[in-house]
Assembly symmetry: C2
Homo-oligomer: 320 residues x 2
C-alpha cells in the first residue's frame, strides 16, 4: 500500500508539499473569501475519446470553482481502488491528473488512497475537492439572475455524454466524438478581470443544459426564453443522439457553461469568451424574463414553443 | 437522485450555505495559512460500537487538520452510494455526520453524491476534505522532531480497530469494546494557545502507534526509545488482540495521537491534555534520540529491547 502510494503518486504528483507525507498540507492563502467544492468521479469506462476519469476529476472540480467566480488554487484527491486494478492503469490516470492540473493552473497538494476488495468497486473511483480564491467584487449566485438579463452558452453541447456512452457501449459512429472535458477557469477569470457584471455561472454537467436552465429558473424565481436555433450542436452529436434516442439538451458536458449577464454587457461577454479556445463558440441563446411559473420556454427550430423541464426518466448513469 | 439529495441531506445538513444548492460554496476566511486534507472512508461494517462511517468521516478529517496544528473550519463531503442502499441507513449516517460536525465545531459546506450500480460498491463510501486555519506561530512538521525531545501519547490504544473487526466478524468479548473515534481539535488548540512548542503531531490511524513512530523517525532522521510499560492498553483490548493474533501497536485508532515536544515542556503538555476527556490519559511514552539507523526501539514489559518496524504483512483491511 505504502509502496504503491510512494511509487505511483510521488512520481506523478511530485511536489515539495506532497513529499512531506504528512496527514494534510499547509499552504499560504491571501485573505478574503474562498470557494470550496467537491465531486466524486465514477465514470465508466475509465478512458474515453477526449479524456478519462483523471482529467475529469481535475477539470470537474476546477470548473465548479470557476463557476463560483473563484480562481482555482489547490486540489485534494482521494482514490478508492478496487483490488486487482492494474498498476499501469493507475499510473496512466495519475499522469493524466498531473497534466490536467498543470493545464488548469492548480496544485494537487494532498491525497489519500483506500483499497476495497474485489467486487466492491469498479476499478477506481476518484474524489477531488478544491479551494479557490474569490475576487472581492465577484458576487455570483442563482439569486442574482434577473429579468432583462441575457443567457450565454460557451460552446456546442452534448459531446462528453455521447463520447462516454459510445466508449462504454462500443458504438462506432462515422467520426469519433471527443469529450469536451476542459478547464473553464481562464475564460471566467477574463470576464471578471474585464469587469463584466456576472450574475450567475453554471457548468452543464449532469443533466446538461436543460437541467442547468431549469434549476437556475427555479432558484432565481424567473423565467427564460431560449432560442433553439442558437444552441450549437455538432452534426455527429445530433446524429448519435437521434440513433440512441437522447436529447442533446440533457446530455452531460464537462467543458461547457452558461453565464447570466446584463443585456448591455452581453456582446462584450461573448467577445471575451470567444478569445479562448474552450469557449470560442460562445453565443447568446436567450433572455431572462418575468414568469410567475418560473418556466424555461424554448422557441424550437420549427417555430413552436416548448417548455423545458427536468428530465423525468433515468439520466445516463456514471457519465462523470 | 435530486429528490434524494434534497430530502436526506437538506434535512441533516440544513444550512444557509447548502441551501444555495450551487456547485460550490463561498465562505470567508481570515488571511494566513490554511491546512487542507482529504480522506475516503470505506469502513466495514457501516456501524460499530462507538461510531460509524459517518462519525469516522467527520472526525478523521477533523483530526488530520488538527495534526497540522490547524483549527478545523469547513468540510466537504462526497458520497458514493451503491444502488439499493436503504434510505434509513443513509439518513442515520447523515444524522451522525451532522452531530459529529457540531461536536467538532466544523461546518459541512458543500457535497456531492454519486450512485454506482449494485455490486460496484459496498453500500456507501464517503470522502471528506477539510480546510482549517493554521495559527501564525505554529510550525508542525516531522522534520522538526529532534533528539532530546519527548514522545507523548494521548491515551489508550487499539480500541477502534478491535471494535470494527469484532463487529465485522460478529465476535463477542465479555465487554463490548467501543471505538475511540473522537475529534482531537480541542486539546491540540489548547496546546497551541498555551504556547507549547509542538514539533510534530500525528494521529494513530492506519498502522497504529508503531507505524506513526516509524514514519516520523524516518522523516525526521532520528531514533526513538519507547517504554512499553507506559503505553496504555485496555485489558479487554489486550485480551482480544491475543485471541485474534494482533499486536495493539499496529491497530488503528481514530481518537488518539502522539505529540513531540521539547523535554522541558513535556510535563506541561501532559497536564493540558489531561484536562480534555479525549486525552485524559495522556502520558509520556518515550524520547527522541540520535540514531544513524533511525530506529524506534522499545523497552518491553519483560525488560528486553524490541525494534519497532513497519508491519510487513497485511494490515487489517477496511478499518476506516
Amino acid at each position: 500500500m505504502r509502496d504503491l502510494i510512494e511509487r505511483v503518486f510521488a512520481e506523478a504528483f511530485d511536489s515539495p508539499l506532497l513529499r512531506e507525507m504528512h496527514d494534510g498540507t499547509v499552504v499560504d492563502l491571501p485573505s478574503g473569501r474562498i470557494a470550496m467544492t467537491t465531486d466524486s468521479y465514477v465514470v465508466k469506462p475509465l478512458f474515453f475519446p477526449g479524456g478519462g476519469i483523471g482529467t475529469l476529476a481535475v477539470n470537474g472540480t476546477v470548473n465548479d470553482l470557476a463557476m463560483c467566480g473563484a480562481k482555482p488554487l489547490y486540489l485534494t484527491v482521494g482514490f478508492i481502488l478496487e483490488e486487482g486494478l492494474e498498476i499501469e492503469v493507475l499510473q496512466r490516470i495519475a499522469q493524466s491528473m498531473k497534466e490536467a492540473a498543470i493545464a488548469a493552473g492548480v496544485s494537487i497538494i494532498t491525497g489519500d488512497t483506500k483499497v476495497v476488495d474485489k467486487g466492491k468497486g469498479d476499478g477506481i473511483y476518484i474524489n477531488t475537492a478544491g479551494v479557490g480564491i474569490v475576487p472581492e467584487n465577484v458576487k455570483i449566485s442563482p439569486r442574482r439572475v434577473k429579468a432583462g438579463g441575457v443567457v450565454i452558452l460557451s460552446g456546442d453541447i452534448g459531446r462528453h455524454g455521447i463520447a462516454v456512452i459510445s466508449a462504454r457501449e462500443g458504438l462506432n459512429f462515422e467520426t469519433t466524438i471527443q469529450s469536451d472535458c476542459a478547464p473553464l477557469a481562464a475564460p471566467v477569470a477574463a470576464l471578471i478581470e474585464k469587469g463584466i457584471e456576472i450574475h450567475c455561472l453554471r457548468d452543464l454537467t449532469r443533466g446538461g443544459l436543460a437541467t442547468a436552465l431549469v434549476e437556475i429558473a427555479e432558484s432565481a424565481k424567473i423565467g427564460m426564453e431560449i432560442v433553439e436555433a442558437n444552441i450549437p450542436v455538432l452534426e455527429e452529436v445530433s446524429a448519435a443522439c437521434e440513433i440512441m434516442g437522447f436529447d442533446p439538451l440533457y446530455i452531460a458536458n464537462e467543458g461547457r457553461f452558461i453565464g447570466f449577464v446584463p443585456e448591455e454587457e452581453a456582446e462584450k461577454t461573448v467577445e471575451i469568451l470567444q478569445q479562448y479556445p474552450v469557449s470560442q463558440d460562445a453565443v447568446i441563446i436567450g433572455k431572462v424574463v418575468e414568469d410567475g411559473d418560473n418556466m424555461v420556454r424554448m422557441k424550437t427550430l420549427y417555430g413552436s414553443s416548448r417548455i423545458i423541464d427536468m428530465l423525468s426518466g433515468e439520466q445516463l448513469p456514471r457519465i462523470c
